[in-house]
């Protein structure tokens, strides 16, 4: 009886071992790395750069949300493979963290199907469904536990904060009655910006990181003569130092979010 049981067990194991495994699609991983630069120079907070009008400018905060990042297949149906549903990208590194600024923020995506892709889609901001949620809906560590603006009932899609030599005297004043700070916060569904960048991406067994580079200088592009009083194609920071008011400065907020697409290069 004992031998019979062993024989049966061995037979079952043998049969199971012979069953065909389901076809497994070969997969790979891909790193997306966000970095920021100012016209090609590594972007650091509290460092002086030169604005389009020649004045000194410095930043103390640069962060933004990205949604629904997807690869677009190179075949005829242009199917999308989602990489990231939502992420928070904070590129505010001071000079003591230069190596972190150079390395940027990386998100690793696993189990991607091998294949050829023709481009990548990126939503700058928080896509509408997620923008209905609030930080208290999430646990610690989730990207959406921060930067919510109750007054707008929206996440702040991007924060660009700093100061510039508004009075053109060679110095930047931060704080007090003569402060020269600026604060550009953009939010609400209206300013969400989805960008598709054409780029041949061939995912094989091993892949180099996809470098997503933001040129901060380009975020200030503005061709609206109401806000580009100098006529140089860039936002007049001196006269429009903020976008914090939900309605009055929405045009600037919208333009900044659109500029993320222009400021982006992918390598």
């Amino acid at each position: 009886m004992k031998y019979l049981t062993l024989l049966l067990l061995a037979s079952v194991l043998f049969i199971m071992g012979c069953e065909d495994k389901p076809d497994e699609q070969p997969v790979t991983s891909l790193d997306l790395t966000w970095t920021a630069n100012y016209d090609g120079e590594t972007f650091l907070t509290f460092k002086d750069y030169t604005y389009a009008d020649g004045r000194k400018i410095q930043f103390n905060n640069l962060n933004f949300f990205v949604s629904d990042i997807a690869l677009i297949s190179a075949d005829a149906n242009n199917a999308q493979t989602e990489l990231v549903e939502i992420d928070y990208v904070d590129l505010s590194f001071d000079e003591t963290r230069t190596s972190e600024a150079e390395q940027g923020k990386t998100v690793s995506i696993q189990d991607l199907p091998l294949g050829e892709y023709s481009g990548i889609k990126i939503g700058f901001g928080v896509q509408a469904d997620l923008n209905r949620s609030k930080p208290t809906d999430y646990g610690n560590g989730h990207p959406l536990t921060r930067n919510f603006w109750d007054g707008w009932s929206s996440y702040i899609f991007s924060m660009i904060e700093g100061a510039a030599d508004m009075d053109n005297d060679g110095n930047i004043v931060t704080g007090g009655a003569d402060t020269e700070s600026f604060t550009y916060h953009s939010g609400t569904d209206e300013v969400y910006n989805e960008v598709t960048v054409s780029k041949a991406i061939n995912l094989v067994d091993t892949n180099a990181p996809l470098q997503l580079k933001i040129n901060v200088a380009e975020l200030f592009r503005n061709s609206n003569i109401e806000f580009d009083t100098n006529g140089d194609g860039y936002l007049d920071i001196e006269n429009f130092p903020g976008t914090h008011s939900a309605s009055g400065e929405m045009t600037i907020a919208k333009t900044i979010m659109e500029n993320f697409g222009r400021a982006l290069t992918i390598e």
Binding site: N60, T136, D150, G151, T179, S181
Partner: protein, 358 residues
């Protein structure tokens, strides 16, 4: 005869060893070992969750129980935790003062002044970016270890605290009931801070403030409070933006971040009198930054800022309306606001709506 001598020698040997053991125990300060027996199983504690607060994250190794919270409360207000038995945690965190002490800088035993103002403990269980003004510790359990041993606070030695609690029949039983310990030597500082942390996590807003009832739709704000609300959160394009809600975001009225809000003038990053967060991170760009405090019950917690420099909320509003003091890393939103006296009054009226009424 020989056998008899050997028994004698053994007896004398044990006597010497036993005497030595008793002598060692008395010298080391350990309490004699006593067996304890929990009188009941700990009852899970149901944490109140006001509307919009989300879920508090509780450490898995310190679940809240009714017995743990009650024990923590008893310890919190018991001067047994201080070196001269004159002060407790509650000496600097009075419930009726929004769990602060209304002093610019807290004082420890013998009146020794501390360095900073005591922070409100309301909703402290939701503070997940670091505690104290500079965020030097992450969890409430670790936080509770420090004031007991700080020479400018309770100035005690933890080994003495443990000794005193082990000797205390009621505490022995309470610890056994709360944590299931079965002997006195298991009553350690680790359990003391766990009990204190449980009590502190139970300090959650009641949801009865005028603001809470307004958001719940059961109360209308007065016209001045409503405009103050609009100013605070930049709700309406018809009113100015007082830039408050960026750092004091609903519903905790803090983002728990560390910022330089312009209370200290500093020509360079090395010039801050109190470097705050920078002393913890070692990054000079964090100098002058402090944790954004909650504004809930703010009318009860004067004076204001980390050093209690502002006696009234009117002074605080003036500070922000004037754009703060010049310093290299001041938050960009601290800039002149242009609020009129009437608007400042309306903002103040709104701040009064944040006081719990129970």
């Amino acid at each position: 005869m020989k056998i008899f001598s050997r028994i004698n020698a053994l007896f004398i040997g044990f006597l010497i060893l036993g005497t030595g053991w008793i002598w060692c125990i008395s010298c080391s300060g350990d309490t004699p070992y006593l067996v304890l027996s929990p009188s009941l199983s700990p009852t899970p504690y149901t944490l109140p969750q006001p509307w919009g607060f989300g879920t508090m994250e509780i450490p898995s190794d310190n679940p809240m129980t009714v017995q743990g919270v009650e024990l923590g409360q008893q310890l919190f207000f018991d001067p047994i935790l201080s070196a001269d038995s004159t002060m407790s945690c509650g000496s600097c965190h009075f419930p009726k003062r929004g769990f602060t002490d209304n002093l610019p800088v807290s004082r420890g035993i013998h009146g020794k002044p501390g360095v900073r103002s005591s922070m409100s403990l309301m909703n402290v269980g939701y503070m997940n970016t670091g505690l104290f003004w500079d965020g030097r510790v992450m969890g409430l359990e670790d936080q509770a270890l420090l004031p007991v041993a700080d020479s400018s606070e309770l100035a005690h030695q933890w080994s003495h605290v443990e000794w005193n609690l082990r000797k205390h029949p009621e505490y022995r039983q309470a610890f056994s009931d709360a944590f299931g310990i079965r002997d006195t030597l298991s009553l350690t500082r680790d359990l003391v801070v766990k009990a204190l942390a449980q009590y502190e996590r139970s300090l959650v807003s009641s949801g009865t403030s005028r603001y809470d009832r307004f958001r719940a739709g059961t109360l209308e704000l007065t016209p001045d409070e409503q405009i103050g609300y609009d100013l605070f959160f930049d709700i309406s394009p018809e009113v100015k933006d007082a830039e408050c809600g960026n750092c004091h975001n609903a519903h905790l009225f803090t983002t728990n971040e560390f910022v330089n809000n312009g209370v200290q003038a500093a020509k360079t990053l090395a010039d801050f009198k109190d470097t705050g967060r920078g002393a913890i991170t070692g990054n000079r760009y964090d100098n002058g930054k402090f944790r954004i405090p909650t504004l809930r019950n703010i009318t009860l917690t004067a004076p204001y800022m980390h050093d209690g420099r502002f006696a009234t909320l009117e002074e605080v509003i003036d500070h922000y309306n004037e754009g703060g003091q010049i310093s290299p890393n001041i938050h960009s939103l601290v800039r002149p606001l242009g609020l009129t006296e009437k608007e400042k009054g309306q903002l103040l009226a709104f701040l009064h709506t944040l006081t719990d009424e129970e």
